[in-house]
C-alpha cells in the first residue's frame, strides 16, 4: 500500500519502499538550487525543527539545520546531552513529549539503539532518526543513494565496492539493504574478522542480489564503479591488539587508483582517519565532500515531505 509522507516518521531504511526512496530523491533534486543558496525558499516558513542530539555529530546536525534554514524554517535544540534534563535522569519519553509540544518535527540522535522508534511512539509530530547507537541512520543511506544516482544517472547495474568495517558499520548495513532494492552489483572488501554479517548475506542471496567478497582491495578496484570506503572504528574493538591488526589495512592512495575506471567515484560517510590519503582529494574520483553536501538537499526533501509542504 502506498503511504503518503505527511506526518510520517523516518526511522529505518527498511520502512521505505523503492518508490518512497525514488520520490525522496526526486524532491531532493528539486531542492538543489535552494541548498546551494542560488534560490530562496519560504516553503517551511513558520515551522520549527527540534534537533535533539544526545550524541555529538558534525555533518548530520549542521546539514539538518542548514536544510531547515534554507527552507525558511526555524531550529531549536541541543547538540549534547550535557546541560539537559537527561543528565538529571529524565527519560527519553519525557524529553520527546516536551519537544513534541515545542516543535513541528523532531530530529533525534541518541546513543541507544531503538531510541528513535521509541520516540516516534511518544510524539504526535514526525520523528526523523539521525542515528541511534549502532542501529539505523536512514538519512545517511538516502544521501548516499542520492549521490550515486546523481553521479551515475542510475543505481542499477553499477558495481559498488564497500570496503572497511562491514561487520559493525551501520552505514554499510543500511546501504547494502537499500542497494539490494535497486539491483546494484555488490562487492564486499574486509578482513575476515570484519566481513558483512551472515544475516545480511543470506538476505542478499534470498533476494537474488549478485555479490562477491574479497579481502584484497587492489584486485577489485579496476572494475569498480563506486568505491564506498568506511572507517574501521576503534571504539568497536574491546582489545587494542585486535584493532592494531586491522587498522590501516586498507588505504586508498593515488597509486592504487591508477588502474581504476576513469569515472569511478570514491565515497565515504566521514569522518575519515587514514583510509583515504589527502592526495586523493585532488583526483576526479573523490566525491566525499560533495556527498556530505548532498545531505542538505536530501534532508530538505525529507523535512518538506514529512511536514506536508511537498507531496
Amino acid at each position: 500500500m502506498k503511504q503518503g509522507f505527511d506526518g510520517r516518521d523516518i526511522i529505518s531504511i527498511k520502512d521505505l519502499s523503492k518508490a518512497d526512496i525514488n520520490h525522496i530523491m526526486n524532491v531532493a533534486e528539486e531542492m538543489l538550487p535552494i541548498a546551494r543558496g542560488e534560490k530562496k525558499s519560504s516553503l517551511l516558513n513558520g515551522k520549527i525543527l527540534a534537533t535533539l542530539f544526545f550524541e555529538p555529530s558534525t555533518r548530520t546536525r549542521l546539514s539538518f539545520e542548514s536544510a531547515m534554514n534554507r527552507l525558511g524554517g526555524n531550529v531549536v535544540g541541543f547538540a549534547t546531552s550535557k546541560a539537559t534534563s537527561a543528565e538529571k535522569g529524565e527519560t527519553l519519553a519525557d524529553t520527546i513529549k516536551m519537544a513534541d509540544a515545542y516543535s513541528d518535527v523532531i530530529v533525534l540522535r541518541h546513543p541507544n539503539e531503538g531510541a528513535a522508534r521509541l520516540a516516534s511512539g511518544f510524539s504526535s509530530k514526525p520523528v526523523i532518526n539521525a542515528g541511534d547507537g549502532a542501529g539505523q541512520h536512514p538519512t545517511q543511506t538516502l544521501l548516499d543513494l542520492f549521490t550515486i544516482k546523481t553521479e551515475k544517472k542510475r543505481i542499477k547495474g553499477n558495481n559498488i565496492v564497500l570496503v572497511g568495517d562491514l561487520k559493525y558499520g551501520r552505514t554499510a548495513h543500511s546501504l547494502t539493504y537499500a542497494l539490494a532494492m535497486f539491483n546494484a552489483t555488490l562487492t564486499f572488501v574486509a578482513p575476515e574478522t570484519l566481513q558483512m554479517p551472515k544475516e545480511i548475506l543470506s538476505y542478499l542471496k534470498e533476494s537474488g542480489v549478485e555479490f562477491r567478497q574479497s579481502s584484497s582491495l587492489e584486485n577489485v578496484v579496476p572494475d569498480a564503479d563506486v568505491l564506498y570506503v568506511t572507517r574501521i572504528q576503534k571504539e568497536r574493538f574491546p582489545d587494542p591488539e585486535e584493532y592494531a591488526k586491522v587498522a590501516g589495512i586498507y588505504r586508498v592512495d593515488p597509486e592504487m587508483l591508477s588502474n581504476a575506471k576513469k569515472d569511478m567515484i570514491i565515497m565515504h560517510p566521514l569522518p575519515r582517519v587514514d583510509e583515504i590519503v589527502p592526495e586523493v582529494d585532488k583526483t576526479g574520483h573523490a566525491l566525499y565532500f560533495k556527498q556530505a553536501f548532498n545531505g542538505v538537499p536530501v534532508r530538505m526533501a525529507l523535512l518538506s515531505l514529512v511536514l506536508g509542504a511537498k507531496k
Binding site: 529505518s12 539503539e113 531503538g114 544475516e199
Partner: protein, 151 residues
C-alpha cells in the same frame, strides 16, 4: 495395563508435549520454581509416540492464564495446555506463538533503549517459529537465545 508413574491431578494444569529436557525451564518461566505455591510434578524423558521423548509438568490447583501460555510457547513450541477440573480435561489448547510478543522477553542487546528506564514494555516480532527467532521492535536486532532472556 498402563503403568502410572504419577497420579492424575484433581484440579490444575497439565502441560504436555514439552520438548524433552525443557521441563525445568518451563517451571522457571512460570516462576513456579522460585515461588512454590502449588504441588508440582515433573516428568522428564517420558516415552512418546509422536516425539520419541517428552517432558510433562503437572501443576495442582493452578490454571494458567493466556499470558503465561505465551511464555510456555517460547520455550516449548509443541506443548499442550490442559486445564483439569475434577479429574477431567475441561480445556485443551496447543500453545501457539503469537506474531508479536510483548513484555515477556527482554532484548538481549544491552544497549537497546527498551532495557533503559523508559515507560515501555519490550516488544518483539516473531520472525521464525522454528527455531524461534525474535526481532526487537525497537533496536531491530534478532535474538535466538529466548530462554535466557525471559523476564
Amino acid at each position: 495395563m498402563k503403568e502410572l508413574k504419577v497420579q492424575p491431578i484433581k484440579d490444575g494444569t497439565v502441560i504436555d508435549h514439552i520438548t524433552a529436557g525443557s521441563a525445568l525451564k518451563v517451571l522457571n518461566i512460570l516462576g513456579i520454581s522460585k515461588n512454590p505455591i502449588a504441588t508440582v510434578s515433573v516428568l522428564m524423558n517420558v516415552r512418546s509416540e509422536k516425539e520419541g521423548k517428552k517432558d510433562i509438568v503437572k501443576i495442582e490447583n493452578r490454571e494458567l492464564n493466556p499470558k503465561e501460555v505465551d511464555k510456555v510457547a517460547l520455550i516449548a513450541p509443541n506443548a499442550t495446555i490442559n486445564i483439569i477440573r475434577n479429574y477431567s480435561v475441561k480445556q485443551k489448547h496447543k500453545v501457539s506463538l503469537p506474531d508479536t510478543i510483548k513484555g515477556i522477553v527482554r532484548c538481549a542487546n544491552p544497549n537497546c533503549i527498551s532495557n533503559l528506564k523508559e515507560p515501555v514494555e519490550p516488544v518483539f516480532r516473531v520472525v521464525s517459529k522454528n527455531p524461534i527467532k525474535l526481532r526487537c521492535y525497537y533496536c531491530e536486532r534478532e535474538m535466538e537465545d529466548v530462554a535466557g532472556n525471559i523476564v
